[in-house]
């Protein structure tokens, strides 16, 4: 039966081609590497040579994701970093290496640029460590977080975001991860500093950075590292909660402040405290991108604009506005301790539009606001209220 046969011949050819296609695509995977901060490099109009120089310097100072190294100026502990870095391995006694890549890289990216495989999907986006800005901490707004702050975040997670709790990791592991986060942040900040340094070069440098220890460590790395070291001494002073006023009165006072002109929480958090006030603001790291995009749309230099747009599409996430918190959910990102809320109100949230009340509002008033905010989820009876039996089935 030629009919069936020639048909079969054709089909079998298809089959073979299909199999060949399926088996192709073989190949070894390249070792993990840090990604350059292309957004900044493009913004500073770095040449490929200059980008390469920055990469070389950074590798000399910080090593690679599989094999990190640090200069003593950073104050980082290499042993801890080794535990966190590298590919995921667990040895025969169950000790794990590659903690960062197991637990963090998926969202925060291997470089700590907040561009992991899942990043674009998350809401809010994972933190980009490279600017060295952290939100939830016990230090003043502009300061770096302490090591304990990072450990605390790792331990509790950040409710209301995709950051989960790592409470079940051992202390050593959490400690190593916090150290590695600092390492990535310092690396990112140094990179930024190096890239920005090209701006100040004069003709004698021939477009290259001076590769002296004095410049590389003294003017870039050490500046960054010192601010991290200073964090330990920058803790916010917390006065005692006023004891002379009962809770109800404190809440009432807090409410007054909440809607008042001075604290003006209502402006963003809204008269309902649902976070439905002004909601069209951006994070500190998204705002420049929004503005840059606007600028690029208007620029004459089309080639430059198209290159920059390409970089933004690949290396920056589409900016999202940051909505003010819905205070009626009872979800507090930076922690639910009264202390945490005090920090948030006192110092504001670094990177976010939440301003610092320090200086404008007296410490005891901050405590009143804290009490009011903590009472909000329970304010309206029947909202998130008491766990009552469900209404009987009844319709009309």
């Amino acid at each position: 039966m030629s009919m069936t046969h020639s048909r079969i011949r054709r089909l079998s050819q298809l089959f073979i081609v299909g199999m060949a296609l399926a088996v192709s695509g073989c190949g070894a995977t390249p070792p993990a590497s840090f990604r350059a901060n292309l957004v900044e490099a493009t913004k500073q109009r770095l040449t490929p040579d200059q980008e390469k120089q920055v990469a070389t310097i950074l590798e000399a100072m910080f090593g690679t994701p599989d094999r990190p190294c640090v200069l003593p100026e950073t104050g980082l502990d290499v042993a801890k970093l080794r535990l966190a870095a590298g590919p995921v391995r667990s040895d025969i006694v169950g000790r794990k290496n590659g903690l960062y890549r197991e637990h963090c890289a998926h969202c925060h990216g291997i470089t700590g640029d907040g561009l992991g495989p899942t990043a674009a999907f998350l809401n809010p986006y994972p933190r980009d460590y490279r600017p060295g800005v952290f939100k939830f901490k016990s230090t003043e707004r502009a300061d770096k977080p302490t090591h304990d702050d990072l450990v605390r975040i790792l331990h509790n997670g950040i409710p209301g975001t995709s950051m989960p709790s790592f409470a079940l990791l051992s202390e050593t592991q959490v400690d190593a991860l916090a150290e590695y986060v600092k390492y990535l942040a310092m690396r990112g900040e140094t990179e930024l500093a190096l890239m920005r340094a090209f701006f100040e070069l004069d003709d004698a440098d021939q477009g290259k950075l001076p590769e002296t220890r004095e410049f590389l460590v003294g003017e870039t790395l050490a500046v960054v590292a010192d601010r991290w070291k200073a964090a330990a001494d920058a803790a916010i002073p917390v006065p005692q909660m006023p004891a002379d006023i009962d809770l109800a009165a404190s809440i009432a006072k807090g409410r007054e402040l909440f809607y008042g002109d001075k604290a003006n929480c209502v402006k963003c958090h809204g008269p309902t405290a649902l976070g439905d006030g002004q909601a069209n603001d951006y994070d500190d790291w998204n705002k420049p991108i929004v503005e840059w995009k606007k600028e690029l749309a208007g620029t004459e230099d089309r080639a430059w604009a198209s290159r920059a747009t390409g970089v933004l599409a690949g290396d920056a996430l589409t900016p999202r506005t940051i909505p003010p918190r819905n205070l009626r959910h009872g979800i507090y990102r930076g922690g639910r301790r009264p202390l945490d809320l005090y920090y948030r109100i006192h110092a504001g949230i670094n990177g976010a539009p939440m301003p610092a009340a320090k200086g404008t509002i007296a410490p005891e008033d901050i405590w009143h606001i804290v009490n009011y905010v903590r009472s909000l989820p329970y304010e309206l009876d029947g909202e998130l209220g008491v766990d009552r039996p469900m209404v009987a089935r009844d319709r009309f």
Partner: protein, 161 residues
């Protein structure tokens, strides 16, 4: 689908199967069914029944405060209508016994599916979570809105008089 079909007619594929089966089908009762009269009667019955079920919606329906009575009545009416359509318009009343084989299992399975959904989905309010209750419509909300509506109407009436 059992042995009693063994002696069924044998057709030749040369002629169209439909033609051949036309004889098989109608051989016994050549155009004995249907007819304008029957269809008109069924049509009138259907119209009457539609009006009947519509009755529950009018003020003349005596069981206003017991919606279940109305529902049962309407379902009964619907089933009767469905039965009429199936029996006469779809000619099932004139068909052989295969009609049971085809229709009854489907009807049973359909019913069974719905019945099995009831304990879980139909009675789901027993185990509702707080987060959901927070956002779910509640009878009390309807009451609130009715009160608001009543207040408006009273005001409107007051203004009118």
């Amino acid at each position: 689908m059992s042995d009693h079909h063994d002696h069924g007619p044998v057709t030749r594929a040369g002629e169209t199967a439909d033609d051949a089966l036309h004889h098989a089908e109608h051989g016994g009762h050549d155009h004995g069914h249907g007819g304008l009269g029957v269809y008109l009667a069924v049509f009138l019955a259907l119209c009457f029944l539609t009006t009947m079920s519509f009755l529950t919606f009018t003020p003349y329906w005596p069981w206003r405060d017991q919606p279940q009575v109305g529902w049962a009545f309407m379902m009964a009416v619907s089933c009767t209508k469905a039965l009429l359509v199936v029996l006469f318009f779809m000619h099932v009343i004139w068909e052989a016994n295969w009609k049971y084989v085809l229709t009854i299992p489907a009807a049973m399975m359909a019913l069974f599916l719905v019945i099995m959904l009831i304990p879980d989905v139909g009675m789901r309010n027993r185990m509702v979570s707080q987060e959901r209750a927070l956002h779910m419509a509640r009878p009390s909300d309807v009451r609130l809105m009715e009160e608001a509506g009543a207040a408006r109407e009273t005001a409107a009436h007051g203004a009118a008089h």
